[in-house]
């Protein structure tokens, strides 16, 4: 599979400060998360791929072309910046039409496209209001819409949930996920919030101090552990008692029974305990590592 974005020995220095050093990474189709703390080099990497910054050494390629050198390849890119980027005096419809025209769409197509994309992000009703009167959540949606209006191959999202309340954040992540999965647009999503990446992305690249610390599929990183979680609707304490009576290491965590597995035969013991107590089972599943644990392990 050909990568959409590829960094080869990519280095960027600001004076004596190293933002990225000899980074090699590839971004393929799908939703990729760029995870890292503040100052890890996420925004610098995105700006290098967009051609906004010139690499100190190495290359940042978009579909095989260096974006700093090639004007044409930028037609395939969409960018949702972290900072404000909306003109307060224009309506969303006029602004999106203009951005589509700047991306070389004929005027009549640009207008249609602006209306379609605003409907996709849930702003069909408010499209003729001046952007200055929009809430933070609505502005984030317009920022995403302008990145999509010319139908790019890949969209780079820099901290798309910044400044949003928990509900707004959830809605934004859902919109991003739908854009990636239902609309088939590849996304590179940068965030310092592990939850954002974990629930949205297929692949993850962890940056730390200008270096790639971890790279791979999210499901691969969050591998299964030797801990079993049992969620019951009834008779939790009775099942816990039976398990302990058989010498199984079982504890309670919230509404769950947590079993430290010591052998395959303990699955049968757990089944028998649940059946014996006539408890109603909701879920019995191995625990997966969270990205938080992966990130902490990588950092340490």
């Amino acid at each position: 599979m050909t990568p959409l974005l590829e960094a080869k020995q990519l280095t960027k220095r600001y004076g004596s400060t190293i933002a990225l050093e000899s980074v090699d990474l590839k971004v393929y189709e799908g939703i990729t998360g760029l995870l890292g703390a503040n100052g890890a080099g996420k925004s610098t990497a995105i700006k290098l791929f967009l051609g906004l910054l010139k690499p100190t050494s190495g290359t940042a390629e978009v579909m095989g072309q260096e974006s700093f050198e090639s004007v044409e390849v930028r037609a395939c890119l969409g960018y949702m910046p972290e900072h404000d980027c909306l003109p307060s005096s224009l309506s969303a419809a006029e602004f999106l039409t203009h951005m589509a025209e700047v991306s070389r769409l004929p005027t009549i197509h640009a207008r249609t496209r602006a209306a379609d994309v605003l409907r996709h992000v849930g702003l069909a009703e408010e499209r003729y209001r001046a952007l200055g009167g929009y809430s933070t959540g609505m502005k984030q949606r317009v920022k995403l819409a302008q990145a999509l209006v010319h139908d790019p191959t890949i969209v780079l999202l820099d901290e798309p949930t910044a400044g949003l309340d928990p509900r707004g954040r959830e809605e934004m992540l859902d919109l991003i996920w739908r854009t990636g999965k239902e609309c088939g647009i590849s996304l590179l999503l940068s965030s310092h919030l592990m939850g954002d990446i974990e629930h949205t992305c297929d692949r993850i690249i962890v940056l730390e101090g200008g270096h790639v610390m971890e790279e791979g599929a999210v499901s691969g990183l969050t591998s299964e552990t030797q801990t079993i979680l049992i969620e019951l609707e009834t008779k939790r304490n009775e099942v816990l008692g039976i398990l302990k009576g058989q010498g199984i290491k079982a504890t309670v965590e919230g509404s769950l029974i947590v079993v430290e597995l010591e052998g395959e035969e303990q699955y049968d013991a757990m089944r028998d305990a649940i059946v014996g107590a006539e408890a109603r089972l909701r879920r019995l599943t191995p625990r997966r590592h969270t990205l938080s644990e992966v990130f902490q392990d990588t950092a340490s």
């Binding site: 004007v71 910046p81 900072h83 980027c85 909306l86 951005m99 025209e101 700047v102 070389r104 004929p106």
Partner: protein, 316 residues
């Protein structure tokens, strides 16, 4: 009962499979956006006040001059196309100082510039479109004034056809002089705007350069700052009043160039082959003809270079 005649389907997100044009499409979109921003189109009513005032102030001298020509007797000195530019260039400078910075400052202040930079166009495309947008407006306004004036002069002439035959060369002259004035009044404020995100700072600086340079030069030329009379006039009276001698000679001619406000009108006067009666213009006329032209080119091209150089840094 009426049968339903249609149904609405939500097709969801659709990919775009329509045509994509070349870079000219992007440049045209930026130019049109610049024109709309400068004229306040698609914005609130307050954004339209200044452009409407500029239009009124650009047309008023043309209408007044036409009226003067139509009622004046044959022995009187009549206004000319060059006179119109002398009047309008000052009005234009004032308005360009206020309106032009909005084309660049708001893009930087509101962060829209970054969205343009990641689109398939170069920074030169962006700057050229912005300069051309403001140039188009100023050129259109002042040429409209000149067309009104030309029609007025023609209709007021005793023999309109003879006037047309004798004066048709005024048309290419006022077009060429219009380009000179519109280019100067577009590039200088935009170059200043490249240093700030605040429109007010750029406006204050440009107005300062335009309108402080005039009294400054007059002050230098007369030393006392109160007398602008030519040096050979009434020396005894000046001495008796205790005033110092005005600056004369070669230095005065060069100092006269520092009146930035009159730089484009020196070239305009050369195009119309007319002499300006102002003291500064008389001094500049004593210099070789090529000097005011080179000075104009230096300031205009210099402004263009500064603008390009400032924005070139943004992609690095």
């Amino acid at each position: 009962m009426r049968e339903p005649s249609g149904e609405v389907f939500d097709l969801g997100y659709q990919h775009y499979n329509g045509p994509r044009e070349g870079r000219a499409r992007a440049r045209k979109a930026l130019w049109m956006n610049g024109v709309r921003t400068a004229l306040g189109l698609g914005r609130g009513s307050r954004a339209k006040i200044l452009p409407v005032m500029l239009f009124i102030f650009a047309m008023a001298p043309a209408v007044i001059m036409t009226l003067i020509v139509s009622v004046a007797g044959s022995g009187e000195t009549l206004p000319t196309h060059a006179d119109y530019y002398r009047v309008i260039s000052i009005v234009l400078l004032l308005f360009s100082a206020i309106i032009a910075p909005e084309l660049l400052c708001s893009d930087k202040r509101e962060g829209v510039l970054f969205l343009y930079l990641v689109r398939p166009l170069t920074i030169t495309d962006y700057l050229a479109a912005r300069v051309l947008a403001f140039f188009s407006i100023t050129f259109a306004f002042i040429c409209t004034g000149q067309v009104i004036l030309f029609i007025g002069f023609t209709l007021a002439a005793s023999e309109p056809l003879n006037y047309l035959r004798d004066s048709w060369l005024d048309i290419p002259r006022f077009l060429a002089a219009g380009v000179v004035i519109a280019l100067f009044t577009s590039l200088l404020p935009l170059a200043v705007s490249s240093f700030t995100t605040r429109r007010a700072y750029a406006t204050a600086f440009v107005i300062g350069v335009f309108f402080i340079s005039a009294p400054l030069v007059t002050g230098i030329l007369t030393e006392s700052g109160t007398n602008t009379a030519p040096p050979d006039e009434l020396p005894e009276q000046r001495e008796s009043l205790g005033e110092s001698e005005p600056l004369v000679g070669d230095a005065a001619k060069w100092y006269a160039l520092l009146d930035i406000r009159q730089v484009p009108t020196h070239v305009s006067d050369l195009i119309f082959d007319e002499e300006n009666e102002s003291q500064v213009a008389k001094l500049v006329n004593e210099l070789p003809t090529v000097i005011p032209i080179l000075w104009y080119l230096l300031l205009t091209a210099g402004s263009g270079f500064v603008l390009w150089w400032r924005y070139r840094e943004m992609r690095a």
